[in-house]
Symmetry: C2
Subunit: 254 residues, 2 copies
DNA sequence: CGTACCTTTGACTCGTGTCAACAATGGTGG
DNA sequence: CCACCATTGTTGACACGAGTCAAAGGTACG
């Protein structure tokens, strides 16, 4: 809970849980807005962003088939995106950590194709898309930033496709742990010691594995002294070893 | 080869193999540009599009790590997009048929993360991205169209993720055949009788299966009289039966 | 403090991969 | 035009990784 529920201490206006903090002051803006906007342009963007009350664990940010209105930036907490299959099952297609943006699947069809659910208490910035579109017409670097964000989502999805298609259970889980580790590092948190915000079931669903397999892999990794696992608390003991497991691609296959 | 190598007969200016045909006259523009642009705006778009000589089977449209310059519309033929994994293996992440657009993975990092390879002789429209960006700033509906195109790529990738994660070999192949069938129908071709542009190996790679499994599934489908298969020529004999196979999700999982 | 949910572990099964042999196809050069 | 060879596709026998089923802790929450 360290990051998520920490109370905001002194520099109140820079705390990322505070709904009043503006983009210019947000400590995540290097991730969320890594672009050279003038101060006055950031203000314009700031004005269209809505900051509601935090979502509680299990609450929906939006549901599949809802009218598409906005994209969302995670300010704190974690959101999972899930596809609903024909027969009503869930497929987790992504986890979104602070500074990351979701909801872009809704643009094409004017309704969301995913549902988005909070995995823990999460503060969210809502960005109404029509106003973002207007603003993008006037700010070339914002338009570009948005194209880049969507492109990034595409490459992330394609990475996952490759992972699912080519890699074993061990490799998939190692890759997920390394991805979370790297994203934590980006946010200046520990790369080796962190709390998984999602359940074993979410991990299994995301990686195309059953919870039993996920559990067994964690046990195996502990036996090999790659990790120390205490419930959701993860400690990477042997980063290089873990990278070895993740990169070990199967020998052949088409 | 019917669609691909047919010689262009009478209305030469409307034939989609002709490199001189403009967007306004292209028979694919309902797929590629399903937007309400004024005639003069289509002309502006037309002016930035480059139409080179056709690619031959096996030729690269672009390679992973090439400098990102353009996105590409398929005018005729078929392109596959492949990710190269750490150890040099290929992962097919998509097949692009006439009217479809590829290359958007390159925007985020300014170089392509995929390679794109022609599966047969293919004519391509190249759209320089920087000029498309400029034009998008002046044409709101073009900006929106592009956001939608990228969003469509995202939802397609997430569909594939779900397929790989949750579905059996039979279900995956049924889904691919139905997808190609529907896209053919969109282009006013037969939904039940068509030629697969890709090899068994490409199919297996795309769907996370070995070529042996792909071959066996085709045999099984023929035995069940869902399909008639003659090499790459496919005849869907029982469309409803095939849809049944595709939608039959596994009972539980997660 | 009890109940519901999540996680772990074991025993067994099954689908798909692997390995191997062979058939069919298509392109090339004599 | 045909023979040759490389490539691609088909089929069978077997193996193995991950799924399924089941049971027993652990943990969280009311």
């Amino acid at each position: 809970m360290s990051d998520t529920n920490a109370t905001c201490a002194k520099p109140v206006q820079r705390c990322h849980h505070n709904p009043l903090v503006s983009c210019g002051d947000c400590r995540l803006n290097a991730i969320c807005l890594p672009i050279s906007l003038h101060v006055e342009d950031i203000d314009k963007l700031d004005q269209i962003i809505q900051r509601g009350r935090p979502l509680q664990k299990g609450e929906y940010l939006y549901r599949s088939n809802d009218q598409f209105t906005s994209v969302f930036a995670v300010r704190s907490g974690t959101i999972k995106a899930v596809n609903i299959t024909n027969d009503g099952e869930e497929q987790v297609t992504g986890f979104y950590l602070p500074g990351e943006i979701l909801g872009m699947d809704g643009i094409a069809q004017n309704h969301y194709t995913n549902s988005a659910i909070a995995l823990e208490t999460s503060a969210i910035c809502e960005i109404p898309f029509s106003r973002l579109e207007e603003l993008s017409l006037r700010l070339p670097s914002l338009q570009r930033h948005f194209f880049q964000l969507m492109s990034k989502e595409i490459t992330a999805d394609q990475q996952l496709i490759t992972l699912l298609s080519k890699n074993s259970a061990d490799e998939r889980i190692a890759a997920l742990l390394l991805s979370i580790s790297a994203r934590n590092q980006n946010r200046h948190l520990s790369a080796t010691s962190f709390r998984l915000p999602m359940s074993r079931s979410d991990i299994g669903n995301y990686l195309g594995l059953t919870i039993e397999t996920v559990s067994r892999v964690f046990s195996r990794f502990q036996k090999k002294e790659l990790l120390a696992v205490d419930k959701k608390e993860i400690n990477i003991l042997d980063m290089d070893g873990l990278k070895n497991v993740a990169q070990a691609q199967p020998a052949s296959r088409s």
